[in-house]
Amino acid sequence: MKTFRYDRAGDISGAIATLAKERTGVFLAGGTNLVDLMKLGVMQPDVLVDVRRLTSTEIQDLPDGGLRIGAAVTNSELAADRRVRSRYPVLSQAVLAGASGQLRNLATTGGNLLQRTRCVYFYDTTTPCNKREPDTGCSALEGFNFGHAIFGASRHCVATHPSDMAVAMTALDAVVRIQGPGGERELPITELHRLPGHEPQRDTTLEHAELITAVDLPPPGFASNSRYRKVRERASYAFALVSVAAALHVRDDVVRDARIALGGVAHKPWRARRAEDALRGQPAVEESFRAAAQAELEDAAPLRENAYKVTLAGNVMTRMLLDLSVS
């Protein structure tokens, strides 16, 4: 690991101001992904600005019935919160499907959103990777890509985003609150993460020294009828082959509304809008669910090793919607 200066700012403005002056610096929260990457030389910041104790550790009720989750709320705290469990079960389930108990105790909401891909070529500084070093090539394109994207990839990068929490938040239309050198702003979570395009080195739309301060969840609506399912090779403690977050609103045996997001399939959590559109107004039966899944997967572009993800995603979406329609 390269040496760095460790800086603990007194408040958020100070942290932002410090990092704004350090082009090669980053924020440090729980460190569970950052320290991992620094040990391997994948990331080599010169300055670490510790923000773990600066942003809010609270989950607040919002006047409109939603929740504001402080960026420093740990994954464990988020998953255990009774309001989250009852009103947005998909989110609690997603967080609990991720990592391990130990990691969830340190990992923060903000950090979880900003974690980086687990592509083996990204992680190995001796193999070409456009995300790590632009214009060196994408080794996964013709390499081991069974864990890589079926949507939204480019020939520069086929990596996937590994966060389960982000998938659930995407299905819930969460809004990310950001503070930066230019002031405060809000961003729908679907606009936080990028598709790789020709700049895979940019995971998110955040500008340098912008800090996530909180994530807002809108009023639950039908989110209390939601679920997260993660498919992986090991029974626990492994990244997703494919995951599905879904919320379903059925009345009189007709689908009134749906929210679906997929994980493990793209450079960002994949909001399945085509499936959602295909579902609205349809009878709440298996045929509709399967057809909606097909509608979404029609444009999937599998790589040499990951065609199974298309089948898997279709099956899991169908099954989950079926389960949600009877609960």
């Binding site: 200066r5 569970t32 464990s76 998953a79 469990r85 609690s92 609990l96 108990g101 340190l106």
Partner: protein, 173 residues
């Protein structure tokens, strides 16, 4: 280059100077000679480095020591208070819940932290949404909650009953 920090480990205070790159794991092992927490992977992927940090189980290999100045740490040595083995430690011996022993201190601390979490009502991936209050530690719950501690010797089938029996014996934190 060195940064001065204070750590309390197993009831004793220490003031040490660390490289900012030093993890809590290496601070404990190489600076303080506390070798209970082990380096199995150094990347938060195996749990052998698990300690209790301010009462919570965490992977010490991913925690930068400078970022945890003033932390209260418990390792396997600290669990055995006054020379008496902790009930979890006794249960591991009785059930032969270890073989080479390298993952064992991490398993035991993770188990102690995990029992506290379940008693506090924290759910796991296998807990239903409706469940409220203390979560009963079934074998399925224990297995899931302990999946962050790998054991290549494959002692899991003994680790689970060891934890269950120690937890059933009563509260111990």
């Amino acid at each position: 280059m060195g940064v001065e920090i204070t750590l309390r480990a197993d009831g004793r205070g220490y003031r040490i100077e660390v490289d900012p790159r030093t993890t809590l794991l290496d601070a404990l092992r190489e600076h303080l000679g506390i070798y209970g927490p082990k380096k199995g992977c150094d990347h938060g992927q195996c749990g052998a480095c698990t300690i209790l940090l301010d009462g919570m189980r965490v992977n010490s290999c991913l925690a930068l020591a400078v970022a945890h100045d003033g932390a209260e740490i418990t390792t396997a040595e600290g669990l055995a208070a006054g020379g008496e083995l902790h009930p979890m430690q006794r249960s591991f011996i009785a059930r032969d819940a270890f073989q080479c022993g390298y993952c064992t201190p991490g398993q035991i601390l993770s188990a102690v932290g995990m029992v506290n979490e379940a008693q506090a009502g924290w759910p796991s991936q296998v807990t239903g949404d409706a469940a409220d209050g203390e979560v009963p530690l079934t074998d399925e719950e224990i297995s899931e909650r302990m999946s962050g501690n790998l054991c290549r010797c494959g002692a899991y089938a003994n680790i689970v009953p060891a934890i269950r029996e120690a937890a059933e014996a009563g509260r111990f934190w």
